[in-house]
């Protein structure tokens, strides 16, 4: 038994307020406004909601249900661990519906600028869960294990990713120009004409990464909502249903450890096991995917996911991207057709879910002709890692 083809995405809603223009709205308020927009788009109301399933970092699902005046909550859960992304939330939502808890599910993702954070920062500065105590921090503060990791001063997500990326680049002889190809290709999809020369002039912050390899931080508050329900019920709603073909959530735990991963998976996104589970549930492979929305907190993670999801052989993704194969304009497998978070801001990959749904509805700004199947992946950081395959009904 699996959730294959049993649940559909039926509504999307998004709210954003620029910093300083929030009119007193907290991020939890933005989440409710996003939920209302998604319900409206679906042709549903807030009293139809039964299940609440999201990735971590968007507050308490049950608490929000109570605030919204939902008559009865039939399921309320968060995926654990890091940003996870929208893909994981959809897998959890589908599980709750197929599990029979309730038929209509809300998933929320939020992001917000830290109130005191200076403007113009990027993902390279985000605190590192390894060195910052997240991985080993216990109820009473930092644990003795941390003394073996913290002195190295690998003090940000960017630095952690750079450790993995440098190994990947070394193993396969991939030049920095190929990281640049990811950035340039996604900027081009977003309509921004960044050249490779401009990319290469951007100074290294944490070598091999420059600021352009990292996502700009959001300058404000953001919330996104996705409504899912059974395929049967979806047929009567306002939008063409987009079906969740398969979902996977998990990964190999060693990838979350402090640089102790086995050598053969160290220079990877950690998604290899998730990809295998996902394709097995879907009964398909990378050749069946028409558009891929790959979580892009940092440019090297796009290359490594292209390989871990089987679009390229090991070490081949850089040349693949540089050769135009991921472009929305005629590429073999268009990737991050909306430009990704690298071209906009760090919003935990939820815009990837929105773009996938819009591609399959046929309403995307950069429409891939005849897109039938879309892959959406979540954060390649600490487990659980997540991914979904969506399809047109």
């Amino acid at each position: 038994m699996s959730l294959k083809d049993k649940v559909a995405v039926v509504g999307l809603g998004m709210t954003y307020v620029a910093r300083g223009e929030d009119a007193g709205l907290a991020v939890g308020d933005l989440a409710i406004l996003a939920a209302e927009a998604a319900l409206n788009e679906a042709g549903l109301g807030h009293k139809d909601l039964e299940n609440f399933a999201w990735a971590s970092g968007a507050g308490d699902p049950g608490g929000m249900a109570a605030t919204m005046g939902v008559p009865e909550v039939m399921f309320a859960a968060n995926l654990t661990s890091g940003p996870g992304g929208g893909a994981g939330a959809l897998g959890l939502a589908a599980s709750s519906i197929v599990g029979g808890f309730g038929d209509v599910c809300l998933s929320i993702i939020t992001a917000q600028t830290a109130p005191k954070r200076p403007t113009g920062t990027s993902s390279v500065f985000r605190a590192n869960p390894v060195a910052g105590g997240g991985a080993y921090g216990g109820p009473t503060g930092p644990q003795p294990e941390e003394a073996f990791v913290a002195p190295a001063s690998i003090s940000s997500q960017g630095a952690t990713t750079a450790m993995i990326a440098n190994r990947y680049l070394h193993e396969h002889g991939v030049p920095r120009e190929h990281l640049g190809a990811v950035v340039v290709s996604q900027r081009a999809n977003a309509g921004d004409a960044l050249t490779l020369e401009e990319y290469l002039r951007s100074p290294l912050i944490v070598g091999p990464l420059s600021a352009l390899d990292c996502t700009p931080d959001l300058e404000g508050g953001f919330a996104a909502a996705v409504i899912t329900t059974t395929v049967e019920r979806a047929r009567d709603l306002a939008q063409p249903p987009i079906i969740i073909t398969a979902a996977a959530t998990g990964g190999t735990p060693s990838h979350a450890t402090a640089f102790q991963m086995p050598s053969d998976t160290f220079g990877s996104s950690g998604h290899r096991a998730v990809a295998a589970d996902l394709y097995a549930m879907a009964g398909m492979g990378p050749d069946d995917i028409d558009v891929a929305l790959l979580y892009d907190d940092f440019s090297p993670m796009v290359l490594m996911q292209l390989e871990d999801y089987g679009f390229c052989g090991a070490g081949e993704a850089g040349a693949f991207v540089a050769g135009g194969n991921t472009s929305v304009r005629g590429g073999k497998i268009p990737v991050n057709t909306h430009g990704g978070n690298l071209s906009s801001a760090y919003v935990r990959g939820i815009t990837h879910v929105f773009e996938a749904v819009q591609q399959l509805r046929g309403t995307a700004t950069n429409q891939v002709d005849g897109a039938q199947f879309a892959l959406v992946t979540g954060s390649p950081a600490t487990i659980p890692l997540s991914a979904v395959i969506l399809r047109k009904a």
Binding site: E145, A152, S153
Partner: protein, 152 residues
């Protein structure tokens, strides 16, 4: 050794000094490592039951879930598995220390685990994955001596 301030930068291209609480961040599991470090002897945490090395020395062995731990003396040589060059002070505390080079080191005699430390005594441009390194010691305080790695 006394409690007087150590030289701020005994080695070239060191990372910023660790937070002051680190010297007291020990328990019975980790004390032998820091005692050996004070004597400038590199040791590696290893499961007493099945022999699997584990870094950091967490409570349970990931291979057999034993809680028994011992420390194996190592020759103090190794290879750079991966590294980065921190050129921008992500933290204001690091401003006087960039560039520095965090690294994961495969230590000879301790397969299956890596030391997370820094390459020092070296220009950033000269650090390479696969280069041979040897341990050098930074006596930070009476209770804390940190291993770094310099070109062998």
């Amino acid at each position: 050794m006394t409690t007087t301030e150590p030289a701020a930068k005994p080695f070239k291209n060191m990372p910023p000094p660790p937070p002051s609480f680190l010297g007291s961040l020990v328990d019975e599991r980790t004390q032998p490592f820091w005692d050996a470090a004070k004597r400038e002897q590199l040791v590696a945490p290893k499961c007493s039951n099945c022999g699997t090395f584990r870094m950091p020395p967490s409570r349970f062995c990931t291979n057999c879930l034993s809680m028994d731990l011992e420390y194996e003396p190592l020759p103090g040589t190794g290879t750079v598995f991966t590294f980065i060059i921190v050129r921008h002070p992500l933290n204001p505390r690091a401003a006087d220390f960039v560039p520095f080079m965090p690294a994961a080191i495969d230590a000879d005699g301790a397969p299956g685990m890596r030391f997370i430390s820094n390459v020092v005594e070296c220009e950033p441009e000269d650090v390479k994955i696969g280069m041979k390194v040897k341990v050098v010691w930074n006596h930070v305080s009476d209770t804390l001596t940190l291993p770094f790695w310099a070109p062998a």
